[in-house]
Amino acid sequence: MKIEFTPEQAALRTELRAYFEQLMTPELQDEVDATPGEGGGPLFWQAMKKLGQDGWIGVGWPKELGGRGMSDIEQMIFVDEVMRAGFPFPFLTTEAVGPVLAQHASERMKSELVPKILSGKLIIAIGYSEPAAGTDLASLTTTATLEGDEWVIKGQKIFTSLAQHADYIWLAARTNPDPDIKKHKGISIFLVPTNAEGYDCTPIHTLGDVTTNATYYDSVRVPADHLVGELDKGWRLVTGQLNRERMSLVNCGPVSQLLNNTIQWAMDNKLPNGDRVIDQPWVQINLAKVRSGIEVLKLMTYKSAWKASNPVEGEDPMTAAASEMADASAAKTYGTEFFVEAYRLLAEILGQASTLHLDSKGSELRGRLEMLYRTASIITFGGGANEIQRDIIAAAGLWMPRAQR
């Protein structure tokens, strides 16, 4: 047991921090702030291209697929630093969907899409949720039917984030309508081009100013080889990335940076009596609560990354999978609920200034806390509602019997 970075890991961190500080020019920062969480502007695409050229896309992919083949811990360091810098890196495309696509898509789709992903020229949006299939995702009703050598897709997806910038939708559709099989057994994954006839995308404007989308598939026809992996076996591709996705949702990079900026702000600003804001005991307590919460998040994410490449020798695979699931769910639940609390504790220090919008006169810390109050509502239900996470923890972490659903 040695819970600290090795000299090589520490050096990678330093290198990445300097790299991203340089990448995030004030102009790019302004562009990113104008479209929170999205990217998609001209400077964003320029930065993506540079990341591709410098080999910083697909860091976790095997070298033979054109990636960097970084270990899980190194990948986590990378994610930390990108997110700390505030660059809207399209992780879902490059690190979640990308490697699965590179492994399971047809040869033609692979040769067309993989080079574009790795050079930062392509974004893929995820089309899972439907108006009537959220937490119970396997009840989705979008269908794909084979007609000749084409799949015909009919249905509607909701919260298809990034679809407005995406070239493809990574779509889950029902391919086996047999009511007698288990509902998650008849689902397949397709790559649907966003320029296909019958595809439509309308924006959903959200509380947090982040635009997401409803996407519509009105008999969209795609070639047979747009099917990813085996027919009717898409559920495994959907769930295979869930643990990793849950971990990436609760990365400690951004909140660490926000805490540090708030500490600096409270040191630099004075009260009428001449004391610094940070000299007040309650401010120090709020900061300490956030600081000690962040430490756990850091350790949770690094431990999960470490575990991914260090399986316990001789451990029963069922037990290992259960404990991985419980830990990912614990991290997701703890992390998202901690974020909500942390944003409040930090906003209290700014007081009413934390309600001033980025664009407003008098806003502080680039309006970050103003925005986070509005965007944070989604995190406790997005990526798997926390109730479901707690169900998973009780069953997989504590072996408690589950209720029938």
């Binding site: 047991m1 040695k2 819970i3 600290e4 970075f5 090795t6 890991q9 811990i73 400690c252 909140v255 660490s256 805490l259 540090n260 500490i263 409270a266 040191m267 610094r276 940070i278 000299d279 005991p281 401010v283 120090q284 307590i285 709020n286 900061l287 300490a288 609560k289 600081r291 000690s292 962040i294 430490e295 756990v296 350790l299 949770m300 690094y302 431990k303 990354a305 470490w306 575990k307 260090n310 316990v312 419980a326 830990d327 614990a330 639940t333 703890y334 109730e387 996470q389 707690r390 169900d391 923890i393 009780a394 069953a395 972490g397 504590l398 072996w399 408690m400 019997p401 589950r402 209720a403």
Partner: protein
């Protein structure tokens, strides 16, 4: 980053588990408590015989030559069984600073006896209204001849009646002195206290007590940093104990709710019950991680004040929440003294309040943040 235990560490863990599960049974603890003293001398002798009392001692003092990590694995198992043995006061608060800062003569005289189980040591770390042993306020020491004369008082001193020496700090002309006090010396009086955890504790009164030169560890130049060093290790060791206490009470709760039937189903199948237990799982995982980090850093002699404070904050919060959740989900069964859960509850409180609560530690961490010394880098 390496979160794994080595083969040797697993061996220590397994050995500790085997002995403690076998000997520190609820029935045995119940019998000792009924006799009026929560101390298992037989178990202590067995731990000595197995070598575990010397787990972190150098081989030349009869030890296994392992480090703080291995010692904390033993302590976690003591927490998991609530075994009535003074592992932290003896093996951490007094043995570690003597091994690190003591004279050769002190080490030769005291450490082999600890490893063999022949003698106990302890430390007096708190005074009334003062939980920081690096800043003694009620105890002072004045040089006289080759030795020192001590006056003052300490509170909540564990096993003071059985210890050969009590390590304590006192104000001197030049700073904070660290001394090894003989509780049999003239001018020492011990008054027994009655505490939540039932650990044998005493108020220690010092009235012109002579401490000989051979029992002085430091006279003031480095005393405060020695006490800070041992306080960080003591806090962290109690965090390790809490991991065992909370983990075990949580698992007892999970299995109890899986068996207990109401409305014809196990109560664990009620989402409200499952979720309260899941919150315990999250708490225990959080507490374990920050604790392991603190242990690892201290074992490698890194500067770890921030990380130790964070572990202490989590330990107090997690211990409190898990204790009450476990009792709540057990219904009346948990408060019955024939069922072992109550011991886990009282030890959670013991650990929570020792060497500073979560709130007071948050204030310390907040002060360090304000001084620019605890950014989240």
């Amino acid at each position: 980053m390496d979160f794994s235990f080595s083969d040797e560490q697993r061996d220590v863990q397994n050995l500790a588990q085997a002995i403690l599960n076998d000997k520190a049974t609820p029935e045995r603890q119940d019998a000792l408590e009924k006799q009026g003293e929560r101390y298992d001398a037989q178990l202590w002798a067995q731990l000595a015989e197995s070598g575990l009392l010397g787990v972190a001692l150098e081989a030349k003092y009869g030890g296994m030559n392992f480090g703080f990590t291995e010692l904390c694995l033993l302590i976690e198992e003591v927490g998991r069984t609530t075994a009535p043995v003074p592992v932290v006061p003896v093996l951490v608060s007094s043995v570690l600073p003597i091994q690190r800062f003591g004279t050769d003569e002190q080490k030769q005289r005291l450490l082999p006896g600890v490893a063999s189980g022949e003698l106990l040591l302890t430390a007096a770390l708190m005074e009334s209204c003062n939980e920081n042993p690096a800043t003694p306020a009620l105890t002072n020491a004045r040089a006289q001849g080759q030795g020192y004369v001590l006056n003052g008082s300490k509170l909540c001193v564990p096993f003071a009646d059985k210890a050969q020496r009590i390590l304590l700090s006192a104000q001197t002309d030049t700073g904070v002195g660290v001394f090894l006090l003989d509780p049999q010396a003239s001018g020492v009086s011990l008054a027994p206290l009655k505490v939540t955890s039932q650990e044998p504790q005493f108020e220690l009164l010092l009235n012109n007590v002579m401490v000989e030169a051979k029992d002085v560890i430091d006279t003031g130049a480095k005393g405060a940093s020695i006490m800070q060093w041992l306080a960080e290790r003591t806090s962290t060791a109690y965090c390790a104990m809490q991991t065992g206490v909370s983990d075990k009470s949580m698992r007892m709760t999970a299995s109890y709710t899986g068996e207990r039937q109401q409305f014809d189903v196990p109560i664990a199948t009620f989402q409200a019950v499952g979720h309260r237990a899941a919150d315990c799982y999250i708490d225990v995982e959080c507490q374990r991680l920050v604790t392991q980090q603190a242990i690892s850093l201290l074992d490698n002699e890194r500067e770890a004040t921030t990380e130790v404070e964070i572990a202490k904050i989590w330990t107090g919060d997690c211990g409190h929440r898990v204790s009450f959740a476990a009792q709540h989900l057990h219904g009346g069964v948990g408060i019955d003294k024939d069922y072992p859960l109550w011991r886990y509850c009282v030890w959670s409180r013991h650990i929570e309040m020792i060497l500073g609560s979560s709130a007071s530690t948050l204030a310390l961490l907040g002060g360090r943040i304000a001084a620019g010394r605890a950014f989240a880098n």
